[in-house]
Symmetry: C2
Subunit: 237 residues, 2 copies
Amino acid sequence: MANRMEWPAQSGSLETVERATLQEQIYRQLRDRIMSGFFQPGQALSTRSVAEAVGVSVMPVRDALRRLEVENALVVGHNRALEIPRLDIATLSEISATRIALEGLAVERAQPAFVAADIGALKDHCETMSGSIDAGDIDGYLGANWAFHSHIYRRASDGILLSFIESLWLRMGPYFRLTAGDREHLDNAMIIHHDIVGALEKGDAASARSGIVADIEAATGDLTDWLAKDTGSAAAS
Amino acid sequence: MANRMEWPAQSGSLETVERATLQEQIYRQLRDRIMSGFFQPGQALSTRSVAEAVGVSVMPVRDALRRLEVENALVVGHNRALEIPRLDIATLSEISATRIALEGLAVERAQPAFVAADIGALKDHCETMSGSIDAGDIDGYLGANWAFHSHIYRRASDGILLSFIESLWLRMGPYFRLTAGDREHLDNAMIIHHDIVGALEKGDAASARSGIVADIEAATGDLTDWLAKDTGSAAAS
DNA sequence: AAGTGATATGTGTGATCACACTTAGAGTCA
DNA sequence: TGACTCTAAGTGTGATCACACATATCACTT
């Protein structure tokens, strides 16, 4: 009974996306929820519980969960059920270093392909982020933040590199929300974002890369502090 | 009939690995064959054809193929069937840049963890490679080459970073064999490998990284030439 | 002879069932 | 009271079936 999933409201949105396989719809829904921090680290997602929650058979759920497992967004847990992976400092360090390597490469590759419309899109995303911060809308901020970054990376890759970066964000998704409430962190992030836009506007790939690296290191630093503080106090199973 | 798979000899080895799910055994077998260049680029691998070839139902094959699809080792092809992806110059360039970023990072992270036993293992792999070259054993060379590299990367990561690197090798696997027949390429590669071992033995992470980068760039250069020559002559569908 | 339709084949998708395995817990016995 | 066994629930795994869809082939019509 402890594994009973809470699957509020949004469940109906599964029918909205027509013309896609059930497996694809479920995958995308779970993926969005993982990246936006809907699920708690350690929460179990078994095929039957998810299948019952969305009202389909286990087959498409099985495919969706397996896909997420391969992408490192889920790991086998307690009694063979898949669950949201917990993050320790060592793993966070590895993920951060990998993010710097991949996202740094991506922004360098993206810069030559950037046109005025891309700069405009990035500025729009920055506007959305600022507005969400003022409104206290963490979901809005996180969504715009990913839209900002993915717009850049999508100019560098149409395949493998982008899928790797998405996998890393998916892995950190459940934890992004935890540090996104801090105003100081958010203000600093916005400064960095504007620096990145400015660098890309000037065609300065090296500075753009430095900006991305600074953004990743800031997020990693905040999360490292949070993890260190958390492991000291929380003993919840 | 054109999609009829040829599945010679080794098929029996599926039963050798006990204590693993069928899906896992099939995945591993397909994975090894892809990385060693057993399958031709463009060759179709449908669930039913593979299931019939190995003598199981479609379920475990379906899982194994999906996993490989998520890892970019297979792509949806002609009539929705999965097939070995073809490589074009632009994709090769992206893969190469990503390999440099990730494998360069991995060797830098691995260096501090290296001990004498690791150096010895690398030298053993070099011996195997040299012997395979002299014997004209391409499979032996490719296997030892991957063993050499993966031994290094395994000291840097137990998870995400390693899985990304494996995904990239899996993506290039079908093409490795094509340039591995050139003696000049092989001799050059062996020099680089010895340089890498020497750098790691001295604890020189920067030189080790340079060696890895040189190895990747050499392989990429040879394969780029091969692809350019191939697209000029081959018009086979 | 050329276009057009029906048909056969191959494909992934999804549902349902049976099974083996693991784990937690209640029950029983010493 | 403690240790043990047995049972029940929960889990992924694999087989089998039916279905929708895409493609190619062949016969039929014009």
